[in-house]
C-alpha cells in the first residue's frame, strides 16, 4: 500500500496535469471558433465559384475530353494522395483515422510502389509515411493555425503542377471533415481530374463567355482546384481543433476521476494511521495499569 505522502504527491501532479489539459481545451475551443469563422467566409466564395464552374461544365458536350486537361480523364498510371494531418498530436484519433484509412486504401488499390505517391501535410503524417517507407512526393509541415491564403495557394499550386506535368494522373484528397464540435469524419474525394462538376443539377443560365469558354475555363479551373485545396485545409483545421478540444476535455475528465479516486485512498490511509495511533496509545495505557 502506497504511503500517504506518495498519494499526496500523486494527487498534486494529477491536478497540475488537469490544469494543463483544461487550458489546452480552452485554447482549442477559441481556435475552433476562429477556424469555423474563416471556413464560413470561405464557403461563400467556394459556392459561387462552384456555381460558375458547374454552369460552364454542364454546357460542355458530354464525353468531350479535349476541352481542358483538368476535366479530361486519362488512363491512370499513377495516383497521388494528398493527406492532411497535423503537427502536434494530442487530438485523439484525429490523425490515426486519416492515416489508417489511407493505408488501407493504398493496400487495397495498388500492387506496387510505382503506382502511387503521397503528398502530406503535418509532421505526424510525414513521420508515419516515412517510417513505413511510402513514396512521399513532398510535404508541408508549417501549416499555421490561422491559414494564410497565399501560403495555402502556393502549396496548392505545387500539388496541382504534379497533375499538370502529367507526373500523376489522378489526385485524391483525404482529410477529416468537420461536421460539428464533437464529430469529424474522414472524407476521400477526387480532386483532379474534375469529374463531379456536372453531376449536380445546376440552374440553367445561358451565359456569354468573354472572350470564349475555353479562355474562361483556362483561368477558372486552376482557381477552382486551388480553392478546393484551400477549403480542405480550412476544413481539416476546424476538425483538428474540434478533435483536440474533445480529447482534452476527456483528458480533464479522466484526471478529475483519478483525483477523486486518489483522495479517497488518501483519506482511508489517513484514517487507518489515526486508528492505529489510538490503538497504540490505548494499548500502551492498558499495559501500564
Amino acid at each position: 500500500m502506497p504511503s500517504m505522502r506518495d498519494i499526496k504527491e500523486k494527487i498534486a501532479s494529477t491536478k497540475k496535469m488537469s490544469k494543463i489539459t483544461k487550458a489546452m481545451q480552452m485554447v482549442a475551443a477559441a481556435k475552433l471558433n476562429r477556424a469555423q469563422e474563416s471556413a464560413q467566409h470561405y464557403s461563400a466564395y467556394a459556392d459561387k465559384l462552384r456555381e460558375v464552374v458547374a454552369s460552364i461544365a454542364s454546357g460542355l458536350p458530354k464525353g468531350n475530353n479535349s476541352k481542358h486537361p483538368m476535366l479530361a480523364s486519362r488512363p491512370v498510371k499513377k495516383t497521388a494522395y494528398l493527406v492532411l494531418t497535423e503537427n502536434r498530436g494530442l487530438a485523439g484519433a484525429y490523425d490515426s483515422n486519416v492515416l489508417k484509412y489511407t493505408q488501407n486504401l493504398i493496400a487495397e488499390k495498388h500492387q506496387s510502389r510505382s503506382e502511387y505517391t503521397v503528398i502530406v501535410t503535418g509532421k505526424i503524417g510525414l513521420h508515419f509515411f516515412e517510417k513505413r517507407n511510402y513514396p512521399v512526393a513532398f510535404s508541408k509541415t508549417d501549416v499555421q493555425d490561422e491559414i494564410n491564403f497565399d501560403d495555402a495557394v502556393g502549396f496548392a499550386k505545387q500539388v496541382i503542377s504534379l497533375f499538370d506535368n502529367k507526373e500523376v494522373d489522378e489526385l485524391h484528397l483525404i482529410y477529416n471533415h468537420f461536421i460539428n464540435a464533437i464529430s469529424q469524419t474522414v472524407v476521400d474525394k477526387q480532386l483532379l481530374p474534375l469529374t463531379d462538376l456536372s453531376d449536380k443539377p445546376v440552374k440553367k443560365a445561358n451565359y456569354i463567355y468573354e472572350p470564349d469558354e475555353d479562355e474562361v475555363l483556362q483561368s477558372l479551373l486552376p482557381l477552382y482546384a486551388e480553392g478546393q485545396i484551400y477549403g480542405a485545409l480550412l476544413d481539416a483545421k476546424a476538425a483538428e481543433q474540434a478533435a483536440r478540444m474533445t480529447a482534452m476535455r476527456s483528458a480533464s475528465d479522466n484526471a478529475n476521476d483519478i483525483i477523486d479516486h486518489l483522495s479517497l485512498s488518501y483519506n482511508r490511509a489517513r484514517q487507518a494511521a489515526i486508528t492505529q495511533e489510538i490503538t497504540e496509545i490505548v494499548g500502551g495505557a492498558a499495559a501500564l495499569e
Binding site: S38, A44, Y45, K48, V153, Y207, I208, V216, L223, G227
Partner: protein, 142 residues
C-alpha cells in the same frame, strides 16, 4: 436610374455588397462597363481597379481587384477574386513594402528565370493597391 445588386467576394469573405448603377472592370479582353439588365456574361479579370458607380453620380466606390472574374447574371453582379480590397481598406505601408520587395526581386532576376512572373505579379498588385489608395475621392470636373 435603376441599380443592380453587386458583391465582391474573396476567400476571406465579402469585401463589398451593395446596389450600384454601373460597374466598370478591366477584363482580359478589354474594359467593360456593366449596367443593370445586362445579358448574363462571365469574363476573367486583369489585376486592375474596379469602379462601382452609385445612383448618385458623385458617389463612386473604388476597389482593387487582383484577378479573378466577373459573373453577371439576370439580377446581380458578382466579382470573384482571390484578393480584393476597397480603397479604404488598403494598407499603404504594406503595399509600399511589397512594391519595394518586388522591385528588388525583379532586379536580381532575368526575364526567363523562375519566379520572374511571380515577382512581376506581386509588383503589379502592390502598384494597383497604391494607385487605388491614392485616388482622390472627389469626382473630377467633366
Amino acid at each position: 436610374m435603376s441599380t443592380v445588386h453587386t458583391d465582391i467576394v474573396t476567400p476571406a469573405g465579402k469585401v463589398y455588397e451593395g446596389d450600384v448603377h454601373m460597374v466598370c472592370v478591366r477584363a482580359t479582353s478589354g474594359e467593360m462597363g456593366v449596367l443593370p439588365h445586362h445579358i448574363p456574361i462571365v469574363a476573367p479579370l486583369e489585376i486592375a481597379l474596379v469602379h462601382l458607380k452609385h445612383e448618385d453620380e458623385n458617389h463612386i466606390d473604388y476597389a482593387a481587384v487582383h484577378g479573378g472574374f466577373i459573373q453577371v447574371s439576370r439580377d446581380k453582379i458578382t466579382i470573384l477574386s482571390e484578393a480584393a480590397e476597397m480603397k479604404d481598406q488598403i494598407d499603404v505601408k504594406r503595399a509600399e513594402k511589397a512594391r519595394d520587395d518586388a522591385q528588388a526581386q525583379l532586379a536580381t532576376l532575368h526575364a526567363t528565370s523562375e519566379g520572374y512572373a511571380e515577382a512581376l505579379r506581386k509588383l503589379k498588385r502592390s502598384e494597383l493597391r497604391l494607385s487605388t489608395a491614392a485616388i482622390d475621392g472627389s469626382v473630377p470636373e467633366a
